[in-house]
């Protein structure tokens, strides 16, 4: 079986006054139906741009995006409309992504104005009720406006809206980072249930490694527009190869007093993604960096079966 989504050498550059900003720089992966790919990285690493480019909310600079074997990277907006109902997005901020002047019912039903073929007019009311039920929103909220609801409920509206088209694939862009932990757990469980019931594939974008570990089958770690490590979730946590992933893992404050990790404190901060110099983009902050790292860009290579990492020093760290 072919992959549902196949992304090859995807690039998205933005021209700015100071030079070319490399937001997404040569990212490739494939995603099977019903699976979850986690994309992790810090702010500015290009993870949201990646999600938006795949959904054609941004036009790719180069590279290919294939959905069910069809190239969608170059389609016009009109041609893409057909695919958009298969590919949806859940946005980070449930306060900004809902129209404040529409009621919950109107927000969810708007889909059927745009795609009338999805639901006959007389059944729209029933379908909206059904969707609200699926995401756990009580019917009494149907005529409420977003500002009357709290963050968790608003995020459920966003999910219901995305589901209304019965998509095969959803990009979840930090869907829980604006929520409190007890609500976050409710939404994560909901997303998992929906995946099981409807076989939806997710790209789950987040900065929170513990969330991504919980929900993903496979994980991509991004740094300044590039994938630095990519493999199955278990493998990533048991056999962390890239020094950036190691530092990222060690930096998470663990809510426990036992088996505390030794912190690897990184020096400095992200360098600029504008006209990046050749060489490894992480080199300036890396404790293992050598001259080679500043000169040549490490390629993403298969270090162990199914485990890809982009670093010159895999295998000989620890001796440095």
């Amino acid at each position: 079986m072919g992959a549902l989504l196949e992304v090859q050498h995807l690039k998205k550059f933005y021209p700015t006054a100071r030079g070319v900003l490399h937001a997404v720089d040569d990212v490739s992966f494939s995603l099977e139906g019903g699976k979850t790919l986690g994309v992790v990285g810090e702010s500015g690493c290009g993870k949201s741009t990646l999600g938006k480019t795949i959904l054609r909310l941004e036009d790719p600079t180069s590279g290919s995006i294939q959905f069910e074997g069809k190239e969608i990277g170059g389609l016009s907006t009109g041609e893409f409309k057909h695919y958009r109902k298969e590919m949806q997005m859940i946005f980070q901020d449930p306060f900004a992504s809902l129209n404040p002047r529409m009621s919950v019912r109107q927000i969810i039903a708007e889909t059927f104005d745009i795609y009338p073929e999805l639901c006959p007019k007389e059944e729209i009311g029933k379908r909206v009720d059904e969707l609200m039920d699926t995401v756990g929103l009580a019917k009494r909220f149907a005529n409420s406006y977003p500002h009357e609801l709290d963050g968790g409920r608003r995020q459920r509206i966003g999910i219901a809206r995305a589901l209304s088209m019965r998509p095969k694939f959803i990009v979840c862009d930090e869907p829980v980072s604006a929520l409190d932990v007890s609500i976050q757990a409710q939404i994560l469980n909901l997303l998992q249930d929906l995946q099981e019931q409807m076989g939806i594939a997710y790209i789950f974008i987040t900065h929170d490694l513990s969330v991504v570990k919980h929900i993903s089958d496979e994980i991509c770690v991004m740094y300044l527009g590039q994938v630095v490590e990519q493999c199955a979730t278990k493998e990533l946590f048991n056999n962390t190869l890239h020094p950036y992933t190691q530092a990222l893992l060690s930096a998470i404050p663990v809510p426990s007093l036992h088996n505390r990790r030794k912190k690897i404190l990184l020096k400095g901060e992200l360098s600029s993604p504008i006209d990046p110099k050749p060489g490894c983009r992480f080199a300036a902050r890396c404790i293992y960096a050598t001259e080679e790292c500043h000169k040549s860009t490490p390629k993403l290579r298969e270090a162990c079966p199914g485990h890809f990492a982009a670093c010159h020093h895999i295998g000989n760290m620890g001796e440095t």
Binding site: S182, Q184, L209, H214, L248, P253, L265, L266
Partner: protein, 324 residues
């Protein structure tokens, strides 16, 4: 025995609006000694920030209103002070680090001037001396002093938070309140800032009140921890008490809601429902609607905060006893 820096007694804060009275803080008491670190943990709307603002005397009036209770800072009740007297204390004896470093700094003044401003307000020094001290403060938080003439927009988020910390510590306060100091920062930067705060706190013996929603951050730098729900402290103890022997169902629920890095959990167990509306709190225990241990007793009578073991307080009729 170190001296008590802060003592909050039976604090009740309401926000009074035309439509309703929001019961933001309901009878909170705690104290902090010099060198102590207390983490105040809770979710959005639990009243964490209101507690912090009351201690700073920064509550907006109206609509807020301290209904009862006292806040003793060094033995002086700040709820009774006039604005002019409060101004002498703020930034001097007690200072605060705000959540969002992007909005906490003045965009049209250099960071050096902003640090020097606090020093000149509270200490009798010349402009030049104050600026020199400001440069020292910058170095202390890990920013080269050459950057003192730059403006906030020239700094990244983590650097800005360092500047805010430098301002807060410039007058060597006895009490530092940090309100979600690292929430707006990336994890690798958060680790740097937490490390910095831990070192500075240790060296200066400042009492630290850390407000956060993240148990991870508490485990990193606090010795004591208070869990706050609907304006009440529901559990209080050392971090060992809270992390290893959590006794309140809400504390336990929070821990179970967190995806773990060390264990594989198929499914999270969230706490049902939402926090009760602070304008309409239930008569009994405010957590009883969401609690899986709730009985009819819970909805009728509000439990008292009882000492479970030495220094470990829980406010629950059915607190979780040690199961192993």
């Amino acid at each position: 025995m170190s001296k008590t820096v802060l003592e909050v007694k039976d604090l009740v804060v309401h926000y009074e609006t035309d439509e309703a009275v929001v019961e933001a803080v309901n009878n909170i008491s705690f104290s902090l000694e010099a060198g102590d670190t207390l983490g105040l943990v809770g979710e959005t709307g639990a009243g964490k920030t209101t507690v912090a603002l009351s201690i700073m005397g920064l509550l907006p009036y109206p609509p807020s209103h301290i209904v009862q209770g006292s806040i003793l800072l060094d033995g002086q009740d700040i709820t009774k002070l006039k604005e002019r007297e409060l101004r002498k204390i703020r930034g001097n004896k007690v200072s605060m680090i705000f959540q969002d470093p992007m909005t906490a700094l003045n965009p049209v003044r250099t960071v050096g001037e902003q640090i020097a401003e606090v020093i000149r307000l509270h200490q009798k020094v010349s402009r030049k001396e104050a600026y020199q001290k400001a440069e020292e403060m910058l170095e202390m938080v890990g920013i080269p002093k050459e950057r003192s003439k730059e403006y906030p927009h020239q700094f990244s988020g983590g650097m800005k938070q360092r500047v805010v910390i430098a301002i807060a510590l410039a007058c060597n306060p006895e009490l530092l309140i940090a309100d979600e100091p690292t929430t707006a920062l990336d994890v690798t930067i958060q680790a740097q800032v937490l490390e910095l705060m831990r070192d500075l706190q240790k060296n200066n013996q400042t009492a630290l009140l850390l407000i956060t929603h993240d148990f991870g951050v508490v485990a990193d730098i606090c010795k004591k921890c208070a869990v706050i729900y609907a304006g009440e402290i529901v559990e209080y103890g050392t971090v060992e008490d809270i992390f290893d022997h959590p006794a309140h169902p809400y504390t336990l629920g929070l821990f179970h809601s967190l995806p773990s890095l060390d264990e594989d959990v198929e499914r999270l167990t969230p706490i049902d429902g939402m926090m009760s509306d602070p304008t309409d709190l239930p008569t009994g225990c405010s957590f009883c609607d969401r609690c899986d241990r709730a009985t009819s007793l819970c909805s009728q009578s509000d439990p008292a905060l009882v000492e479970l073991s030495r220094g470990h307080y829980v406010k629950c009729h059915h607190c979780v006893k040690e199961e192993n």
